[in-house]
């Protein structure tokens, strides 16, 4: 009995093998089909920054799928290789090495966070492969003369700091507390804010850091309360940013709570619950796309992205982070298109540097040899969270 079963199984296995092999040979690309263009992406798909990485991965993939469906670029399909850096800089460095050395990519998109992007920069520079980061820190691309191959699409923290400092000045809030997360994002935000607050005559009465994995910030905020600031500025990403809002409510603090552009995704509202109400933060225009005037140069790009994303991922909310990756991917695809049948990394780099008056999701981009981010303060608006919804706040 057992023997017969074995025989039967073997026969079935052989059939399966033959069938699979047959299929394989059937789908081998014919020589007339053009070689695909291979580009790489590194996102924080799992780990602490996954609320950034997932919409980024989705947006990049969605755009590439759309292009391929429409026949590819100059007749070539685009092969997007996406790797997960697990929200750690060390993994990000390994990922970009793998993409460049094994997959021979023409350009790399990512990573999601500043720390991970920073660890990729020296590798992209060394291998002379263009890299377009979706992360915030200005240090990723500055100075541009030493970052020839590096570009980025997210608003830099010095730009956001400028927007926040202007708001504080306009509202006469001169004594403020700064509460950053203790990682590259928070520390870089702190440095930029300190520089600009000093120039604007704004006094930072206390700085209280917390860890990205913390879930209770009442101790930090108690120290903030003792320092009696007129406003509290929080510089972090969800979920930790949401716990600051929760602890803020727990202690019954009443001063304005200004958060950073890092909370531009639904995870913040989901985790903070009713503690999110009243929080204001500067963000790209995507979150207020419905209330944006049609005269805005980004309006049509934003509306298309918003409706495409909602149609492709009906269960996921829009986030500005997805927009950063969408812009980065779109720029690289445009550069490929300009490269004809044989795009080169150097050609892509030169194209990226010449992008100007380019309406993206994140803002109007104007790249140059000395500026590899190309955004100004006009790319940001103030958003207020009201009843668990993003609304355009009066500036």
């Amino acid at each position: 009995m057992k023997k017969r079963m074995f025989m039967l199984m073997s026969v079935v296995m052989v059939f399966v093998l033959v069938f699979v092999a047959g299929c394989g040979s059937g789908s081998t690309p014919t020589s007339t089909e053009k070689k695909p263009f291979v580009i790489g992406a590194v996102f924080d798909i799992t780990g602490a920054a996954s609320s950034l990485g997932i919409p980024e991965k989705n947006s990049a993939q969605m755009l590439v799928d759309q292009i391929n469906k429409a026949g590819g670029i100059n007749g070539h399909k685009v092969d997007l290789k996406i790797l997960d850096d697990k929200s750690t800089p060390a993994e990000a460095a390994l990922d970009i090495k793998q993409l460049i050395e094994q997959d021979k990519v023409l350009a790399v998109i990512g990573a999601s966070t500043s720390g991970a992007s920073m660890s990729m920069v020296p590798i992209a520079m060394d291998k002379q492969i263009p890299m377009v980061s979706a992360a915030a820190s200005a240090l990723i691309v500055r100075p541009a003369s030493e970052h020839k191959w590096i570009f980025k699409t997210a608003q830099p923290d010095d730009l956001v700091a400028k927007v926040v400092v202007k708001y504080l000045k306009d509202h006469n809030l001169t004594n403020v507390a700064f509460v950053p997360v203790n990682n590259d994002f928070g520390n870089s935000g702190l440095k930029e804010f300190q520089n600009q607050a000093k120039e604007a005559g704004i006094n930072i009465v206390t700085v209280q850091k917390f860890e990205a994995s913390d879930t209770d910030m009442t101790a930090q905020l108690t120290k903030v309360r003792d320092a009696k600031p007129q406003a509290v500025i929080v510089w972090s990403t969800p979920p930790s940013a949401a716990y600051v809002a929760k602890s803020f409510k727990q202690l019954g603090l009443t001063m304005p709570q200004i958060q950073s552009h890092g909370i531009g995704n639904k995870a913040f509202i989901d985790v903070a619950g009713d503690a999110a109400n009243g929080v204001i933060f500067p963000a790209g225009k995507l979150l207020a796309v419905d209330t944006l005037p049609s005269s805005d140069p980004q309006k049509s790009v934003l509306s298309k992205y918003a409706s495409d994303y909602k149609a492709t991922f009906p269960n996921q909310a829009l986030s500005t982070f997805g927009g950063h990756a969408y812009d980065a991917t779109k720029m690289v695809l445009d550069a490929l298109k300009a490269g004809g049948d044989n795009p080169t990394p150097a050609g892509i780099r030169d194209y990226l540097e010449k992008i100007s008056n380019y309406p993206g999701i994140t803002g109007m981009f104007n790249m140059s040899a000395s500026e590899h981010n190309g955004l100004d303060t006009s790319s940001m608006v103030w958003i207020k969270i009201d009843n668990g919804k993003w609304t355009l706040a009066q500036n």
Partner: protein, 291 residues
């Protein structure tokens, strides 16, 4: 600093400490019976929180959510013991500990596949209006967490002191050989220890779910619970509870008086200090009886 701030630091520390104690309690329970430091303990907390989210979204009432999540994780804990620890029971404790590390990675990976990476939450059990105590503020959910710790300790005492199975369990802790001569199966007691440890961890996860349910939450909580367990001497129930609160209050006062940037470093520093000065833990008896 005024007195209300001081009260707030103590309350914050107690609230965090209650959770650390609850996680640490699971470590102690399993270590006592099996001699294994069970690194899946943090994942039991995660599973408790995740299943609470799942059951809550199915529309079940809160008491059902709590009971079902705790029971499910207890079953998972027992199941993991049967498939992975029991076949290797003749291996050295080090091997078994490595097995639990592998298990924790597997459980986390499976949770990632099932629930994804987004942080999830369920509504707070009793609203989100803070309660004022002596000028400090405490969330109702934090009282739930401390209550869960108290209930776990009480239930453990009743089980261990007043039931026959509990006595068999204790007999196994005191003398495995003697216990098996009396007809008690140490194998079954090991499974029971994992089920109980998992249940206690899951209870912690359920009461923490209004704050966070995420596939990777078990790592951070597991480390803090482990610190509490080692600090308490690994074998003592009162020790681990007290140590949990010491770690919680240490972190909160460390934030207040040293720097908020060193919160995690402080608990690990306390651990190193204790291991150097008193390797048996604050409440342990050196070379004490364990099986």
């Amino acid at each position: 600093m005024d007195s209300s701030s001081l009260v707030q630091y103590i309350l914050t520390g107690l609230a965090q400490g209650g959770l650390y104690a609850l996680v640490g309690l699971g470590f102690v329970l399993i270590y006592n019976v099996t001699g294994i430091i069970n690194f899946v303990q943090g994942e039991f907390v995660m599973l408790g929180a995740m299943l609470a989210v799942t059951y809550e979204r199915m529309g079940l009432p809160l008491p059902m959510v709590i009971v079902l999540a705790v029971l499910s994780v207890a079953l998972i804990g027992a199941g993991l013991e049967v498939i992975s620890i029991r076949p290797a029971r003749r291996a050295t404790p080090l091997t078994l500990i490595i097995i639990t590390i592998g298990l924790s990675l597997a459980v986390r990976g499976i949770a990632l596949l099932i629930w994804g990476t987004d942080p999830l939450v369920i509504p707070a059990f009793s609203g989100t209006e803070p309660i004022k105590i002596l000028g400090g503020a405490l969330m109702p959910q934090q009282i739930w967490i401390m209550g869960a710790t108290a209930v776990s300790v009480l239930a453990l005492y009743i089980f261990l002191d007043l039931t026959v199975m509990g006595k068999a369990f204790r007999a196994c802790v005191i003398n495995k050989m003697g216990a098996s001569l009396m007809g008690i199966s140490p194998r079954r007691m090991s499974t029971l220890a994992f089920a109980l440890g998992a249940a206690i961890g899951a209870l912690g996860g359920v009461v923490f779910a209004p704050t966070l349910a995420s596939y990777d939450m078990g790592v951070a909580l597991g480390v803090k619970g482990f610190v509490a367990a080692v600090l308490g001497g690994l074998t003592s129930v009162p020790g681990v509870i007290l140590s949990g609160f010491i770690v919680g209050i240490g972190e909160s006062f460390g934030t207040a008086f040293i720097s908020s940037g060193y919160k995690d470093a402080i608990s690990l520093f306390i651990l190193l200090l204790v291991l150097l000065v008193r390797p048996q833990g604050l409440f342990g008896i050196y070379g004490g009886k364990r099986v």
